[in-house]
Amino acid sequence: MSTDFAATAHATPSGPVLVLTGAIDAFTAPTAHDAIEHLTLRAGDQLVVDLSGLLFCDSSGIATLIAARERALTMGAAIALAGVPRHLTRILGLLGLGGVFPTYLTADQALQARIVAPTVDGAV
């Protein structure tokens, strides 16, 4: 896949919003992992991953979302997905991950419905 991929983050009062656009595959996933590692996350934050501009996502992309969840939980934060493309919703459902990621139609809705992280030190 040669479609341009970009991972950008911006801060909101309830936590960072990570925007992934383009195609995420084995070649572009390291860029996304890098962005996830550099997110500023505090206990109680909600990390929103905005996928509304995502055009392609293979197993490397699924691994990226799982890495984002793991990092959020490690920091005592929560995670939500926004603007999940239909094909990705289907894949997440098949992989049994539908219930693992709270999802919202838009990043704004995710921010408004801001959920509280399960516990500050509950993650392994």
Binding site: A26, P30, H33, S59, S60, I62, A63, I66, A67, R69, E70, L94, L95, G96, L97, G99, V100, V124
Partner: protein, 420 residues
């Protein structure tokens, strides 16, 4: 520009040599001793002139040296084509001579000369026809360049290509050998049941990521699984190998299908942390044949749902909602489903290479629902009948199958099936 005070002022107006030009003039007179005749004889290329029928009229020393012939052996006695190899001679008669007659020149011809010793000398040949004042063709002038360097270069290219071909063949052989170690060479036969499997690799160059197996547990019970690891190639093959051995070992330790997947999840999560995240989707099942067929328990980790095709021609998905993919989540959960296979029923496990195929070459993928409909239309089927119906379906997709595809079918023979 700076102006200097030497003899540069003599440039331009009359072109007469200045003082410094005396030395240049001396070098020129030495060069002039290299007469046109000497240049012809010892030029760094071969020259020869022939009559219009090809008879050699004149030949230079350079070419005679290359050929190892004496001048009197050739001039007036031999035709130029006779100096060529058999193939070159035919090419001369059928192509070069007619081209010369029609166009007056023929260039860039790669030919081989036969030397007096019988060796072949690769050359590049350019010819022109010299015409007299009456425009009648008088003779053919031929210039011959030594092409041994070029031939060596071409052979080097050819050798490099042959080497690349052979390395690709070796990689393919290695991939298929490795693939074979990841699949059972033949399925074991379960008493009172029929089993069949199929594997379709998407690429001959890379080891696929799909796997399956069927093996006896203690007592009457059997374990079986079919899954798909993320990625392809050698790195994925390592994961496949780990998954297979973990599943078989875990089944001996605790035969409960959910427990087996819990165990596999712990192993994969521990083994592949950090950036090298590897995971798989898999259905693990256990079965116990009984007098009325066979009891089956399946647990799924994020895998497309298994399908049961009943003897009456109905088919249904065996859903395990919430069963997550195996490996990346420390807190993954798995769910199971129980069923009974009666005579004439068939259980099918498959990988998404089948349901994600693009049979019509547009963006539309085949689907689990279409597969269910296909199986209902084909029912009733035995395990081997199911596999052959699906291999036929896949063959119809041809290159619409982009991913590896694994199929595993188990059936209880019905009253109508012939029993061995």
């Amino acid at each position: 520009m700076c102006r200097t005070d030497d003899g540069e002022s003599s440039n331009g107006d009359d072109g007469a040599p200045g003082g410094d030009d005396d030395a240049v003039g001396a070098r020129f007179s030495a060069l002039l001793e290299d007469s046109a005749e000497d240049l012809y004889e010892h030029a760094p290329c071969g020259y020869l002139s022939t009559l219009m029928d090809g008879t050699i009229a004149r030949i230079n020393t350079t070419l005679l040296t290359w050929l190892g012939h004496r001048r009197d052996e050739l001039v007036g006695h031999r035709r130029f084509p006779e100096l060529l190899t058999v193939g070159g001679r035919m090419y001369y008669e059928t192509h070069i001579a007619p081209t010369l007659a029609m166009h007056g020149e023929a260039g860039g011809l790669a030919l081989e000369l036969r030397t007096a010793d019988g060796d072949r000398l690769p050359v590049l040949v350019t010819s022109t026809v010299k015409k007299g004042a009456d425009q009648a063709a008088q003779l053919i002038r031929i210039t011959i360049f030594d092409a041994r360097d070029r031939r060596a270069y071409e052979q080097e290219l050819l050798r490099a290509r042959q080497q690349a071909d052979s390395e690709r063949d070796r990689a393919q052989k290695l991939a298929s050998t490795l693939q074979q170690t990841l699949l059972p060479p033949v399925l074991m036969s379960v008493p009172g049941m029929e089993v069949a499997a199929y594997y379709h690799p998407a690429s001959v160059d890379e080891v696929g990521g799909d796997f399956y197996d069927l093996f006896p547990l203690t007592g009457e019970a059997w374990g079986f699984f079919l899954g798909d690891v993320s990625g392809k190639g050698a790195a994925a093959a390592v994961v496949t190998s780990l998954v297979r051995y973990t599943l078989r070992a875990a089944a001996v330790f605790d035969p409960d299908p959910v427990g087996v997947l819990d165990n596999l999840n712990a192993v994969l999560h521990q083994q592949y942390r950090g950036s090298d995240r590897r995971f798989c989707t898999v259905i693990y099942g256990s079965l116990v044949p009984d007098a009325t067929g066979c009891d089956v328990t399946l647990a799924s980790g994020g895998h497309p749902p298994a399908i049961v095709v009943r003897a009456d021609g109905t088919a249904e998905f065996l859903l395990t909602p919430g069963g997550m993919l195996v490996g990346p989540l420390h807190d993954a959960t798995f769910t199971k489903v129980d069923l009974h296979l009666a005579p004439g029923d068939t259980l099918l496990l498959y990988s998404d290479g089948l349901t994600e195929a693009r049979p019509t070459h547009d963006r539309t993928r085949y689907s689990e629902e279409q597969l269910l409909t296909f199986l209902e239309a084909s029912a009733p089927l035995t395990a081997s009948g199911t596999i052959s119906a699906l291999t036929g379906l896949l063959a119809g997709f041809s290159d619409g199958v982009e991913d590896d595809t694994a199929l595993l079918a188990l059936s209880v023979p019905g009253p109508a099936d012939s029993r061995p």
